[in-house]
């Protein structure tokens, strides 16, 4: 299952805000500024959800919706319509063409996030099926990490292999999964690219159950023993 959400809007500010909201929830936003670019992206990626603005130049969002719903692979992909127009007629038309929901612009951040959660059925990243970082690559990254700090407040790990910004969440989620505490804690971290190009991931441990702390300690011991054996 993919983690991609396509956002189609000719308003750059709305695109950026949508990207920020989508990626804060652990998904990857792919952006298109018109219907033609959107159709290209649809050929290129497998999407979990589409967010489409109605008012766009040349081909409207509703026309795009019609075309999308004719593509077999897209029939089951939910499409959320966004628009500054919110008459009953607009909403009915969008729904009759196959839209699952309607977001009124200007974007209300809380509403947008709530609707994302509903239509993505609260499913977070499926770590095992991430198309760029497959199992093998994630495993090799796990091998290359070292502990920077581990205390009651946080766990900081540094990777000896460079990781791209945007992919760090996937790695961090997989890491938590490997620790046996589930990917549901994927938001409990900060990540930063270091001056040497390597990546550092910091996870907040505040509020964790003791049993989860034990699992993290065991994981850290495993890394520590790997480092000491190597040296």
């Amino acid at each position: 299952m993919s983690n991609y959400v396509l956002v189609v809007d000719d308003n750059s500010s709305d695109l950026k805000l949508a990207k920020l909201l989508i990626e804060s929830e652990g998904f990857v936003a792919i952006l298109a500024t018109d219907a033609f670019a959107a159709l290209e992206k649809i050929n290129e990626y497998e999407f979990k959800l589409l967010v489409v603005d109605i008012q766009m130049p040349n081909v409207s969002g509703l026309e795009l919706l019609k075309r999308i719903k004719k593509i077999d692979a897209m029939k089951s992909v939910p499409v959320l319509i966004m628009s500054g127009r919110n008459t009953a007629e607009d909403i009915k038309k969008a729904v009759s063409l196959g839209a699952v929901d309607y977001i009124i612009k200007p974007i209300d951040r809380e509403v947008f996030l709530a609707k994302l959660a509903i239509h993505l059925k609260n499913r977070k990243t499926d770590w095992h099926d991430y198309p760029i970082y497959g199992e093998e690559k994630v495993a090799s990254l796990q091998e290359s990490c070292e502990i920077v700090t581990f205390n009651e407040i946080s766990l900081t790990l540094k990777y000896q292999t460079p990781i791209e910004i945007g992919e760090s969440r996937m790695i961090s989620g997989k890491l938590l999964d490997d620790m046996g505490i589930g990917a549901n804690l994927g938001r409990c971290f900060e990540c930063s690219k270091q001056p040497d190009g390597l990546f550092q991931i910091k996870m907040s441990l505040l509020g964790l159950k003791e049993e989860d702390r034990v699992k993290i300690r065991q994981y850290c011991r495993k890394i520590y023993s790997k480092v000491t054996k190597a040296s």
Partner: protein, 117 residues
């Protein structure tokens, strides 16, 4: 929050940004600072040229862009301009002129507040 600019919006966006490790908020702010002046200028030009649908389109875009970064008053007035053109059967031209003048008045104040946000 004052009537023109809601600082909480930028703060909330920056909090979200920390989770994504990207520089989206600064890009949104810079883009708004660069584009808003031109958009407001085009509103006046289209009003004087009686190109009301063009004026409505610019208002529509600016309504969202301004709300996204916390420029609440500008968003509200843009929404009024758009409604006046699109939804009112009988357009009040004098009211339209007043609203565009009000946007022109609050633009520099909004930009100054945004620069220090």
């Amino acid at each position: 929050m004052n009537n023109i600019f809601d600082h909480r919006v930028i703060k909330e966006l920056r909090d979200l940004e920390k989770q994504t490790n990207q520089n989206i908020v600064s890009e949104m702010v810079t883009e708004f600072i660069t584009d808003a002046g031109r958009s407001v200028g085009e509103m006046r030009t289209n009003l004087e040229a009686k190109k009301y649908m063009e004026l409505a389109k610019i208002s529509h875009t600016l309504k969202s862009s301004s709300a996204n970064i916390g420029a609440v008053e500008m968003s509200k007035i843009c929404s009024e301009v758009e409604n006046l053109i699109v939804n009112e059967k009988k357009m009040d031209f004098s009211q339209l002129n007043t609203l565009v003048s009000e946007i022109e008045r609050i633009l520099p104040v909004t930009l100054n507040l945004l620069k220090v946000a």
